[in-house]
């Protein structure tokens, strides 16, 4: 239930910004991942239209760039909702009830993993360990870490962001 991309149309301004990003990393050894990270920070995704431009600049085929983008869980070819909630699903958090928490959150939000609420405000993503394994279950809301997470804590963040 993801929205269609508003950023799919790559105008000349976007291309200029993209060129800047690429140029800022070209001197690096292995510049592709840093470039993709910056692009995702800028557009919230790696737009399809950016890929041939990156390929050309790095002397790669388009298929190679696509292959890299699709390999890594972090890179998206579609935008997320305005806010992103990530719940840890790994073992230490499981031992503290992460499975139940996930069920409760899914029910409360009416969505499943990788889905966005119909109003486009919130996407739910799984994450496998945030390094908070001694204070799980763990969650992350728009980059803000939450230890000892429970439904009340998570929904408070969600509501504050929606208000």
């Amino acid at each position: 239930m993801t929205r269609t991309s508003p950023a799919a149309e790559f105008d000349s301004e976007s291309i200029e910004r993209l060129d800047q990003i690429i140029a800022s990393h070209l001197h690096r050894e292995g510049p592709l991942l840093p470039i993709l990270h910056d692009i995702q920070a800028e557009w919230g995704m790696v737009p399809d239209d950016a890929q041939p431009i990156i390929a050309k600049a790095l002397n790669l085929t388009r298929a190679e760039v696509y292959g890299v983008v699709s390999f890594y869980h972090d890179f998206r070819d579609h935008p997320t909702g305005t806010h992103v909630l990530r719940l840890c699903r790994a073992e230490s958090c499981i031992s503290m009830g992460a499975d139940d928490l996930a069920d409760q959150v899914c029910r409360a939000l009416g969505i499943g993993w990788h889905e966005t609420t119909p109003d486009g405000r919130l996407t739910l993503e799984p994450v496998f360990c945030l390094g908070l394994c001694a204070c799980g279950p763990s969650a992350e809301f728009d980059g803000k870490l939450v230890g000892r997470a429970n439904l009340a804590k998570v929904t408070r963040f969600v509501q504050e962001a929606r208000a």
């Binding site: 073992e91 496998f128 001694a134």
Partner: protein, 517 residues
């Protein structure tokens, strides 16, 4: 007057930013002059946010601290009566959890301002690098050899032998690459060191650079660790400004510089050759070995790939000598190991001690048993590829070979505690599902086998106990037919659960589950 409020991600996840804000407001309100320092965590995560007040050179702790506790703390400071505060835990260094440890690598974590070279040096930092500059490459490798240091990333390969290979390799450009991908659930030591004492890692990498003749390094940090990325970047910047890194480290003839690189959410990129591909901007597919990275590594050049904790142990070794480090530990597991106690545990956190503690003493003694108060059922040691160890094996000493003898894995020394409500069939399913999601796709047993295993476990969960043999076969195929330890070791947690908790897969356990559905 200094007040310490941890900036470690776990402390922040428990509200330390809000605590720092509240203290700032309250100090101003009550007109008390004090500097708030954002330190790393001491590792007592159950006490976080743990605020510390430095009174005449002694640090008094207060935790777990809530913003509402701020007014009383400022009053206690004015009255110079630390014990008066309801959250007081006494002098932090005297706490049992701290006193029982031998903090070599983590000596400064939670103590200093993490990104300040000045504070680092004031607490003994850079002594190892100075010793290394004086000693020169060969002597460094000798010291590390004598220390018996083995890779802390999981495989336990002797660090000095790896360095010797790279030192002896031909190549105009060599690299030191630090593996900070720390994807294992139950592990957070790399994160804690990078956030709490990033200069220790920088120093270790610089020493490795001198040892093998590498002038450039990269720290590959997983993207799930934005705070560690930030701390490393800040520390590198200060190290450059202070002449620790650069063309002439500390004024010596040795050049070394380094850069942070960020992963992109692929667990397999913790495997060293996958990591190299990722750094080069490729898909994180595992490379066949040989050639080994030491000879043909990053961009085809000789490369050291070491875990954060392996490199982080090196400054201490250079300062105090390999023999002093090697005198600690048991058998072939030398020195100290930062044990991470996680999951359903009362006192969770990081505990650095010499190898050799009994697993049960760690879990029940140091960790205090489960947080839920229910009996411990099992612990998973060494992350998602590590075995589940039942209570009946809790007398195993914490060491590479010792755990290996029980078909278990030290891995990255993370321990996840489960109470008796843990569902072994679900945990087995999770192990295989994780492998299926994270497989790099290069070999069939891992890519397809893991998916088949998930389906097979689903059949078992529905009461089909004949599927157990199929699962065992699949595990065997994966174990022997996989190129790397993702596919090769994913069977270990599954087989350990099958072995120690068989009746949950057959018999009454399975029947109960069936009845419940």
């Amino acid at each position: 007057m200094k007040i310490y409020v941890p900036i470690d991600a776990a402390a922040r996840a428990l509200g330390s930013d809000e605590v720092a804000d509240a203290l700032r407001v309250e100090l101003q309100k009550q007109g008390v002059e004090a500097q708030i320092v954002r330190n790393g965590t001491r590792g007592m995560i159950w006490l976080e946010p743990l605020v510390e007040v430095d009174l005449d050179g002694t640090r008094h702790g207060f935790g777990p601290f809530e913003p509402e506790d701020a007014p009383a703390l400022v009053q206690a400071i004015m009255a110079r009566d630390m014990a008066a505060h309801p959250r007081a835990i006494g002098v932090v260094e005297d706490h049992d959890w701290m006193k029982g440890q031998q903090r070599l690598t983590f000596a400064r974590v939670g103590v200093i301002d993490p990104v300040s070279v000045a504070d680092y040096e004031a607490h003994g930092g850079l002594a190892g690098l100075r010793a290394a500059i004086a000693a020169g490459p060969e002597k460094i490798i000798e010291e590390v050899m004598e220390s018996g240091l083995r890779g802390r990333g999981g495989a336990g390969f002797p660090t000095a032998i790896k360095w010797k290979t790279v030192a002896g390799a031909e190549g105009a450009q060599k690299y030191i690459i630090c593996n900070a991908d720390e994807g294992d659930s139950g592990s957070f030591a790399d994160r804690m060191l990078m956030e709490g004492d990033p200069l220790c890692l920088i120093e270790g990498m610089a020493i490795a650079g001198i040892a093998v003749g590498a002038t450039q390094g990269y720290v590959y940090i997983r993207s799930e660790y934005p705070d560690a990325i930030c701390a490393m970047n800040d520390a590198i910047a200060d190290a450059r400004r202070q002449g620790v890194l650069g063309q002439s480290m500390l004024g010596s003839q040795y050049a070394y510089d380094m850069e942070v690189r960020v992963g992109a959410g692929a667990y397999v990129c913790g495997e060293e050759t996958s990591l190299l591909n990722s750094l080069e901007g490729k898909r994180g597919v595992v490379r066949a070995k040989p050639p080994i990275p030491a000879l043909v590594g990053f961009l085809g050049r000789p490369t050291v790939v070491n875990n954060v904790l392996s490199l982080g142990a090196v400054p201490w070794i250079m300062e105090h000598g390999g023999a002093a480090y090697g005198a600690l530990g048991i058998g072939r597991s030398k020195g100290t190991i930062p044990i991470q106690i996680a999951g359903n545990v009362k006192y969770g956190g990081l505990y650095e001690a010499a190898f050799g503690m009994k697993l049960g003493d760690i879990v029940n003694g140091i960790g205090g048993g489960t947080l839920s108060g229910r009996p411990v059922k099992a612990v998973q040691v060494g992350g998602p590829l590590g075995a589940y160890v039942p209570v009946s094996n809790f007398d195993v000493p914490f060491g590479y070979e010792e755990l290996g003898a029980k078909d278990a894995l030290l891995g990255h020394a993370g321990i996840t505690v489960f109470d008796d409500t843990a569902d072994c069939v679900k945990l087995a399913r999770f192990a295989m599902e994780f492998c299926a999601v994270e497989s790099c796709g290069k070999c069939t047993p891992c890519r397809i086998g893991s998916t088949r295993a998930v389906e097979t476990i689903d059949r078992i969960a529905q009461g089909d106990s004949e599927a157990i043999e199929t699962l065992k076969d699949l595990c065997n195929t994966m174990k022997w037919g996989s190129l790397c330890a993702l596919g090769g070791f994913a069977p270990f947690p599954v087989m350990s659960l099958l072995t120690h908790f068989e009746d949950e897969f057959t018999g009454p356990g399975a029947a109960r589950r069936e009845a419940a559905e």
